[in-house]
Symmetry: C2
Subunit: 127 residues, 2 copies
DNA sequence: GTAAAAGTTGACGTGCACGTCAACTATAGA
DNA sequence: TCTATAGTTGACGTGCACGTCAACTTTTAC
């Protein structure tokens, strides 16, 4: 686990572009330090980027990713009220994820069915 | 299972807007018949809409949804070559779905961890 | 020291998935 | 028959997530 990363280093590791990292910084998702003018990304930035890209793959907006990542950030101190609210949010978030889970399940099942019919047809009418 | 649906009927059932259904028609995803000027949606349209919205929730583009839905359409006759190609596409598609699956799994695990810490903190420092 | 490579800040462009009028038409119920 | 209700076709607008220059500065390698 390295300590710092350049912009191209990080963007290559996660198959993103520098533009995307700068955009995420504009949106407040990343907070790289500077050495002169050059951005220096920390392991925290790396983790947040990784989580953000994961969220994007699942169809979340960048804003939603930020909210969730901020909320889950372990370095954030919280009082009891905030902790309860976080638990509530986790329940909500879990529910939407489970919905996506079911969507994927349904799609996989449909695909299995199509594949089955496909193989049947191939056996029935070979080339 | 009804035979036909009006545009508002279908859009309400799936929590979409009429605009969305017309847009999907423009994109070639839906093919409603007409009674006069009025669109009449069939069960086939209903199924395709359902699949499309499911795909959208998973982050696919409308174009991708259309391609997949068209490919899987059971009413399409196919020769052996096309059947083999379909099997190939199914494998690919399954792979990307499994990736999303893992993304969700990873996120759920992260959430469990956060929740655990959250409950711990609540016990340690009650209001 | 100098050339190449990497980085920077604007600023405008783009593709997607609709939203949102406007202006009009068709249809069903009182 | 009149009127509300639902539907139609444009056409333009919008929010998001970057892509794509341009013009410039910095850093690294030799």
């Amino acid at each position: 686990m390295k300590q710092t990363y350049s912009i191209t280093e990080l963007s290559r590791e996660f198959d993103a572009t520098p533009r995307t990292l700068r955009f995420y910084e504009d949106q407040g998702l990343l907070n790289p330090g500077r050495r002169g003018m050059t951005r220096v990304y920390s392991d925290r930035d790396r983790t947040r980027l990784k989580l953000a890209l994961r969220g994007r793959r699942l169809g979340l907006t960048v804003e939603e990713c930020k909210e969730i990542i901020d909320m889950y950030d372990p370095s954030r101190p919280r009082n009891a009220r905030q902790l309860l609210r976080l638990c509530e949010k986790i329940r909500e978030h879990r529910a939407t994820l489970l919905e996506k889970f079911r969507d994927i399940e349904a799609t996989l099942n449909a695909m299995d069915e199509v594949e089955r019919r496909c193989l049947e047809e191939l056996l029935a009418a070979p080339a």
